[in-house]
Symmetry: C2
Subunit: 351 residues, 2 copies
């Protein structure tokens, strides 16, 4: 994963990477302690951070080192990979595995660490605000504080102790996000314990598959619960090519309509629009983890060029030369500029 040859910046657009991770060393230490304590009862967390916090293999060692850095190491990696700017957020599962009061204070501390780094490197970094969904009524307060720290969005790592934001107890978060015009990046977590069984027994609970399923399910729950009818100006972002929901759009629309018409589920009410309308109008996606022209172009085709952003997923998927593949996509310069720069500037108000 080391690379000595630098990739030149592209003269035609800034390369803005929009789903890049960090973690203060204190948080990494707490993940390790939590794993070693065996008290959480979350097989997904044990699988993820049992591996990343203890393994001596090259990949987890590299990731631990790079997650904790917000200065020279990170900027050198960005330079080597031709990345102009990172949108940075606390790594998964954020503070969402800790007891409520700890989670609230840890989110604050983590936001301060990130905001300080952004102040040191304002041309290279933009920060997203971590919150504790465990305390939805405190979200507005921390979001207002983060706005003053010049943060440009919110990071939430899918479920919190097996609960989803589709539950109305969390909707104060949406209310605050909409009012403050802060987009919510819904980032993967491992599936919760009442879902992870057949994934984890086959080693498929993490980024290879479980992450995407869990997060796609979460966004679909948010849509079908009517969140965007209640908060029509709310904006969300999902990575990994939209966690496959763009590919499923036709079936989602057909089966949602059929299920509602047949009144199959008490919990599934009519929506104002089709499921795919919310995906096109309230959601942006990034190609984190998927440096693959066919998928990028498919998503642009079905969602719109103004809905798809570049992301590297640093340091988890640090492939320095991937931007050369993305630069070489058979795509107009105008659309490539939107992909790398234009959409991100709009969503995160970078200008």
């Amino acid at each position: 994963m080391t690379e000595t040859t630098k990739i030149a910046l592209n003269p035609n657009y800034k390369r803005i990477a929009t789903e890049e991770a960090f973690a203060p060393q204190a948080v990494l230490d707490m993940y390790r302690k939590l794993y070693e304590s065996h008290t959480l009862g979350d097989p997904g967390f044990d699988s993820l951070w049992g591996f990343y916090s203890t393994s001596k293999a090259a990949r987890p060692s590299f990731i631990r080192e790079k997650l904790a850095d917000l200065d020279a190491l990170r900027i050198a990696d960005m330079d080597a990979a031709g990345i102009d700017h990172q949108i940075i957020a606390l790594t998964s599962p954020g503070v969402q595995v800790f007891e409520r009061d700890i989670a609230v204070s840890l989110a604050r501390e983590s936001n301060d660490v990130l905001a300080d780094a952004v102040k040191r490197h304002p041309t290279r970094f933009t920060g997203l605000c971590a919150i504790a969904p465990q305390a939805p009524e405190l979200a507005a307060q921390e979001l207002e504080r983060c706005l003053k720290l010049d943060m440009r969005g919110i990071i939430i790592h899918s479920h919190t102790f097996g609960e989803y934001l589709s539950d109305q107890k969390f909707w104060a978060i949406f209310e605050a996000a909409e009012a403050l015009q802060l987009p919510i990046y819904l980032h993967p977590n491992t599936p919760p314990k009442n879902m992870i069984g057949p994934f984890v027994e086959a080693g498929l609970d993490g980024a290879i598959f479980g992450f995407g399923v869990e997060t796609g399910l979460h966004l679909l729950r948010i849509i079908t619960a009517g969140v965007f009818d209640r908060f029509p100006r709310l904006t969300m972002i999902v990575g990994h090519m939209g966690e496959a929901l763009p590919y499923w759009m036709y079936r989602l629309d057909y089966m949602h309509e059929a299920g509602v018409r047949a009144a199959r589920y008490e919990c599934m009410k009519p929506l104002k629009k089709k499921v795919s309308d919310y995906l096109r109008e309230n959601v942006y996606i990034t190609n984190s983890g998927v440096a693959w022209e066919p998928a990028v172009k498919f998503a642009q085709q079905v969602l719109g060029v103004d809905r798809v952003m570049y992301a590297m997923d640093y340091p988890y998927q640090y492939t320095p030369r991937e931007v050369l593949d993305m630069d070489a996509m058979d795509m107009s310069l105008e659309h490539k500029r939107e992909f790398y720069q234009g959409v991100a500037e709009k969503v995160f108000k970078l200008r």
Copy 2:
């Protein structure tokens, strides 16, 4: 769902629908009894057949009636929708929710019912053989019998009591399927009880999302367990645009390689090829439930035109006019003929 205007057959190709369902009335009655007995302990089955076997809404009533028919009703619907030929299989979850001995005999009876219908309507129907994965050592016997009944493949409805075909206890099925050159259609079931929690509480356990996730996960488990290294001439088919795995290919390859290299999971061993190679070389997909040009063309692009087949998913998704949308795709006649006819003729040996 009634349609009086017939769609003309297309003079340029046969329209062969490759994932079409039936169920003898006796099986439908057993599903209803099983649901009402509350003895299975499978929330997915209760959700699916609790709805389809008892609801008086238009959709489930239509589906019950049409599932049980293998004569005039079905052929009239095919004629109305411009379908030349159906590849027919026992509906989900097949016999996979019954006790072993019952399952074995019910599969035989069901296969006899289907084989008789194919004899009555040989130009309109082709049958797939149902088996009981509960008795893998008996699979070869029933498959040989089905071959004599002129069946052209095997239907398996994902998990069986929460177990997956990636478990070597089931590999006698793969051995027989490979030896007899019968492709296995891996059709959806609802997720098992140790996975379905966050799906079913939001009404997303069925065809809208849970089906696809469960079946995509199952195929991925089969691939990563090394089944296609052990049985390289084995062929599988998955519906619903490949249950999203084609869209995930880049990430599957990247993360499988990374996980194996870091030795993250004891159960995840190196494979002879990339995950995507097996998808391209051992797997065919159908567009059941997804009459949507962008997804069809994406799959053709990344898997190959010789890997993607048409399916209607009758009677669950009987939209008579959908073939007109598919006929109108911006696609060469040669590729459209492959999609509707050529690939299916090869896979099911229809000539």
